[in-house]
Amino acid sequence: MTDDDRVFKALADPTRRFLLDLLFARDGRTLSELESELEMTRFGVMKHLRVLEDADLVVTRKSGREKLHYLNPVPIKVIHDRWIDKYTERPAAALIELKAELEQDP
């Protein structure tokens, strides 16, 4: 599996996307804090976090006795640059040209 495969696979699950949204709202949470937001066993949440960590979408740091989870948006940025920009470049450029033309001739 490539890095991109892991990211797409990790994002293909609604619980994992919800976990990312939770970290986006407030970063650096413990497992217990994340677990309290989900109707799921601790083990289930750990499994999802593991998939997110393998995809590098979540990075953990030790802070004293606690393990804090951080959202790492970098792999999504890399995919955005690799895929989204490529496919949106042409229509976007066309629209920018259209805008320039329309604004030139009143």
Partner: protein, 171 residues
């Protein structure tokens, strides 16, 4: 929820780069590399703990600033080396001087960690932004639409692109 936590203001980013830790270290710490990706600028370090460092704008940044009527400051980032263990770990105090509001927030703590990982390097950036909410918006990439660039996600994906393909994303 029993909430005993303090406000978390640390940002953590990580990226895998197909290059040796030495090469990634050079890209972070040598001026001939630092100007080639992300926001650019020329940074040179003396790795003695306590030594000051400065990031200066490149000639093209100075020129572009003059043309747009916004002269670029002589020093755009400054700080101190807290800890350096080439090519594994670099801890800095770090202050952004491009903008008066950001400069007023003072020094933040920035850590680079490099680890050898499956045919490359895992680079982790930890930016502790305790008293710097405005800078946190910029480094998080949320101010991209206001022309403040894409923050760490952008810098790191650009660095990856430069080291793996020889050219940064901006081209």
């Amino acid at each position: 929820m029993t909430s005993t936590h303090t406000a978390v203001t640390t940002q953590v980013y990580s990226i895998y780069i197909k290059a040796t830790p030495e090469k990634v270290w050079d890209a972070i710490t040598k001026p001939e590399w630092t100007d080639r990706y992300g926001y650019g600028g020329l940074t040179d370090y003396d790795f003695t703990p306590g030594a000051k460092f400065e990031t200066r704008p490149s000639e093209s940044m100075v020129k572009a600033g003059k043309e747009m009527g916004h002269p670029v400051a002589e020093v755009i980032i400054d700080g101190e080396v807290i800890e350096a263990d080439p090519p594994r770990r670099l801890v800095l105090s770090w202050r952004m001087l491009m903008d008066a509001d950001l400069a007023a927030e003072g020094f933040t703590r920035l850590t680079y960690e490099l680890k050898e990982a499956a045919g490359g390097t895992k680079l982790t950036v930890i930016h502790e932004l305790e008293n710097a909410p405005k800078l946190a918006v910029v480094t998080g990439g949320s101010a991209e639409d206001e022309g403040a660039g894409g923050g760490w996600p952008w810098i790191l994906s650009d660095l990856k692109s430069l080291l793996e393909t020889g050219t940064p994303l901006a081209g």
